[in-house]
């Protein structure tokens, strides 16, 4: 009940948020440009999906949490029986639903069926989950919009580039590092799902779910500590 109330509140706020609508239209416009080139454009679908999901969900989650802190409304929530994880979850849920809708529209725009729909779906779902969880953690740690602007954009750029560039195949030292980052399984799933290349589905899903659960748990813990130490 509390979770549903929080999600409903997020949707009420969202329906008056012009930034989100503008962003969605921009992303769909970008997807349409690539989709028009039926020959080469299709190769860009995983890239377009990654950029849309990370910039959209990640930014929305970070902004939502930091703005709550700046306005003080987070404190108003923390004196209710709502748990910190429910508060984060509600913020995440809205981003997840929007990203899922946008991903579906982008795939439809490309007018080609993915080679492995289940793998692509898993990739999209886990990308959304990871973007939400990492965005929530950054939003919780960030003090305010102004100071966090110094590291928000670099983190986002790192996430997107690590997911769309196959660093691990580069053979460089950085490739070895990137092999262990949470962006690799998502990258494999998105590309594998679209092109039909073989992917260790269960293993990649397990790794990503572990990362997502870890980030959410750490975020909820920090939020609880912040709430009682200021």
């Amino acid at each position: 009940m509390r979770f549903i109330s929080l999600v409903r509140g997020e949707f009420w706020a969202l329906k008056r948020n012009r930034r989100v609508v503008t962003f969605m239209l921009l992303m769909l416009g970008m997807a349409a440009v690539y989709a028009l080139d039926a020959q080469d454009g299709a190769n860009f679908l995983p890239v377009v999906l990654t950029v849309s999901i990370y910039t959209g969900v990640w930014q929305m989650t970070v902004t939502s949490l930091v703005e709550e802190k700046e306005r003080g409304t987070l404190e108003a929530l923390l004196v209710t029986p709502a748990r910190p994880l429910e508060i984060i979850g509600a913020k995440a849920a809205v981003g997840v639903l929007l990203a899922a809708l946008m991903s579906a529209l982008i795939v439809l725009l490309f007018r080609q069926p993915p080679q492995s729909p289940v793998v692509l779906l898993a990739g999209v779902g886990l990308a959304i989950g990871f973007a939400t969880a990492s965005g929530a953690l950054v939003g919780i740690v960030a003090r305010d919009m102004k100071t966090s602007s110094f590291y928000r954009t670099p983190i986002l750029a790192l996430l997107v580039s690590a997911t769309i560039i196959p660093w691990q195949d580069s053979g460089w030292a950085v490739g070895e590092v990137m092999r262990w980052t949470p962006t690799r399984p998502v990258q494999e799933l998105l590309w594998g799902g679209w092109t039909g290349a073989p992917v260790p589905l269960a293993q990649n899903c397990a790794v990503m779910l572990f990362y997502i659960a870890l980030l959410l748990a750490v975020g909820a813990r920090i939020l609880r500590q912040q709430a009682t130490s200021r």
Partner: protein, 269 residues
């Protein structure tokens, strides 16, 4: 513990380590069953004791005011008893329960109105209240009822960001009481309001007390605490320096509460 009118009255004792200057620490009595009990509450922010050995017991239907100069620790005290900050030392009991062990039960019984109202500006007044009604498990009708009780039902479709300060305070109060709390914390409830709006809000606070709500509020306004509060607690540099009825404070420390305030805060320095 003494017995007063058949009920337990709590005497707040001066800690044995207190200095001579601290001996003005008051004995806070109340003559009804305690709703809020605070013992030796202290919080240290990087070496600064923002609240130092705060003790108070508040009974049902009491209105107690926290007053003191800027930085005296009023808001921090409210945040501590509301569970928004964890004390370095001491304990809080709400209806006999520990707010840290029984956080959800306690939050269900308390309402908090933080300084500035803290409404969601992007939501309408009614949406703000419906959101919190859901969080407290209150029926959705409770949101409209609370708005009516606070006299702002006509604002329900207006965006909270478009409200005047007085309207925001009323809506924030409606939000704080919509689930029928037994204990209400109000941080500077009339700050920035014109006298008429402040008087309206005082009326609402008295009505809530009449309905059985216990209220702990912080204020800078001497006239407000004098007319509204059963007891007034003076805080200075994190310490409770006096806690009496307004009449007794005036008797003991000066012809007016302002005189008492000046005398008590100077003594404590």
């Amino acid at each position: 513990m003494d017995k007063v009118n058949g009920a337990e009255a709590t005497m707040v004792s001066v800690p044995s380590t207190a200095t001579a200057a601290d001996n003005i620490v008051p004995e806070c009595e109340m003559d009804t069953q305690p709703v809020l009990e605070v013992r030796n509450l202290s919080i240290n922010f990087g070496g600064l004791m923002a609240v130092d050995d705060f003790n108070i017991t508040i009974g049902r239907k009491e209105i107690v005011g926290l007053i003191g100069p800027n930085g005296a620790g009023k808001t921090t005290t409210l945040r501590l008893v509301a569970g928004l900050a964890r004390p370095t030392r001491g304990q809080v009991r709400v209806a006999g329960l520990d707010p840290w062990q029984n956080a959800r039960e306690i939050r269900q019984q308390m309402g908090v109105m933080l300084d500035g109202g803290l409404l969601y500006d992007g939501l309408t007044v009614l949406e703000n209240l419906l959101l919190f009604a859901g969080l407290f498990g209150a029926p959705l009708r409770a949101a409209r009822d609370a708005l009516e009780r606070m006299g702002v039902a006509d604002l329900q479709d207006r965006l909270a960001g478009k409200l005047s300060k007085g309207q925001r305070q009323r809506v924030a109060l409606a939000r704080a009481v919509l689930h029928g709390p037994r204990l209400l914390y109000l941080d500077e409830p009339t700050s920035g309001l014109d006298p008429a709006a402040a008087a309206d809000l005082h009326g609402l606070i008295r009505t809530l007390r009449g309905q059985g709500v216990t209220i702990l509020l912080s204020s800078h306004d001497m006239a407000e605490v004098e007319t509204l509060c059963d007891r007034v607690c003076f805080l200075n540099r994190g310490r409770l320096v006096a806690c009496e009825t307004p009449a007794r404070l005036k008797e003991t420390h000066g012809p007016s509460l302002t005189d008492a305030f000046i005398q008590l805060t100077r003594r404590a320095w």
